[in-house]
Symmetry: none
Subunit: 223 residues, 2 copies
DNA sequence: CGGCTCGGTGAACGCTGTGTGAACTGGGAC
DNA sequence: GTCCCAGTTCACACAGCGTTCACCGAGCCG
């Protein structure tokens, strides 16, 4: 469990001590403007953003959010005087801690945050007989392994992590293919078709078409 | 937005003042042992559990979690000395706040908690036994799922989001079909007919005809 | 009661959207 | 260079859906 510590060098000893007492290894990144320039292999468990300047800290959060770890838990250390500024930035962080933190509070918050993140983002997605292992990039349905291409896996992963929700082709293109993507919506159709084919006749229904709207993974929550 | 305030009577003035300054209305429940005995109608936006005795507070959380609102956001006010006790109860709460809270911290935490909860909660229109899930594009009446086409769903959604109000066919055509639409008014009739058929004999009356005017969802406001 | 209008009803038509197979493209392996 | 494979685009066919129409019954007014 290695949190990333975004902090103007050097991190205050009290903060470092609190982390290490709690059993966390950590990695400090001084440059708030480029927070993931030196990300550890495999990403980090969570990030702590600390800076007396709230604008700069929130800007760093924004960068983290928009890059490859949009769901990575983010804790902000804020000066009590800057509390009102957080109001308009709810989507930028997952938890905050007033500086200086009371003994034990930072550990408790980090622990709770990581617990929640692990719970909200399991390494294995399982739904309706389909199993996706997000670590090993393997997929199986009803115990039978699926040989999926990269895009097929990404599309299936996105759909399966939002069971029941309907996505338009445009939404899927921007969420799965990327915000900048500019391509025909039929691309989605073809990938869905191939996914259904690989899922097999019996499980093809896992992805259902909502006519004039888009596609949905899984069944209704009521039906 | 009404949080439930679980606190041994009476709640401390500072806590009450903090809540009201932040624009929350609140409801106090003294008996931690039976926290939802006097729950406000329709549930609450979130619960704050405050008690100097951590065991009692966590027991109250457990009751709330296991009852009808397992996903309701839960914030615990804890004494700093009791921080270590939280470690083994991560699943019992969503956020915590050290007592006494610094000015503004409780508001910020409550706001963030409710924001997070609101994001996770599906958008649902509910009226007269009819439930429309706007995310999954699914409809159900009296627990029975409805298989609606796109236009049927859009029409029903529009009507159900304006219960009691009468719309002319022209209004429905422009609001549901689009401002540019130029088609026969009988189109609306046919869709209403099909909707009534799918709603079933028992619930067909949810859409009532106002002769020489148009259609209305639900009962009149005067009747 | 008679005439008129409005809405319910079922069927038929035509078009849009989706499924589907195949061709095309670009990049990486050898 | 050639081959291969993933991803994209294309063309076509068909099912499902929205629209229109014709007919009929109900309600309203004289």
């Amino acid at each position: 469990m290695q949190p990333l510590l975004l902090h103007p060098d050097p991190p205050p000893p009290a903060l470092v001590q609190a982390l290490e007492l709690a059993g966390f290894t950590w990695k400090a990144v001084a440059d708030l403007g480029d927070p993931d320039a030196s990300a550890p292999e495999g990403g980090w468990a969570g990030a702590i953003v600390a800076n007396p300047d709230p604008g700069e800290a929130l800007a760093a959060c924004r960068v983290l959010r928009q890059r490859d770890l949009p769901l990575s838990p983010l804790l902000v250390l804020v000066d009590p005087a800057q509390l009102p500024a957080l109001d308009s930035a709810a989507e930028m962080f997952d938890d905050f801690c007033l500086a200086p933190a009371q003994p034990g509070e930072l550990q408790a918050r980090l622990g709770h945050l990581l617990w929640r993140a692990g719970r909200a983002r399991p390494e294995v997605v399982e739904h309706g007989g389909l199993v996706l292992n997000l670590e090993t990039y393997q997929a199986a349905v009803a115990g039978r392994a699926l040989d999926l291409t990269y895009m097929e896996y990404e599309l299936l992963k996105f759909l399966a992590t939002h069971p029941g929700k309907v996505f338009t082709r445009e939404a899927l293109l921007s969420q799965v293919w990327g915000y900048e993507y500019y391509g025909g919506a039929r691309t989605v159709d073809v990938h869905v078709r191939r996914l259904r084919a690989k899922l097999g006749e019996e499980h093809a229904g896992l992805i259902s078409t909502v006519r004039s709207v888009g596609y949905r993974f899984g069944q209704s929550r009521w039906a």
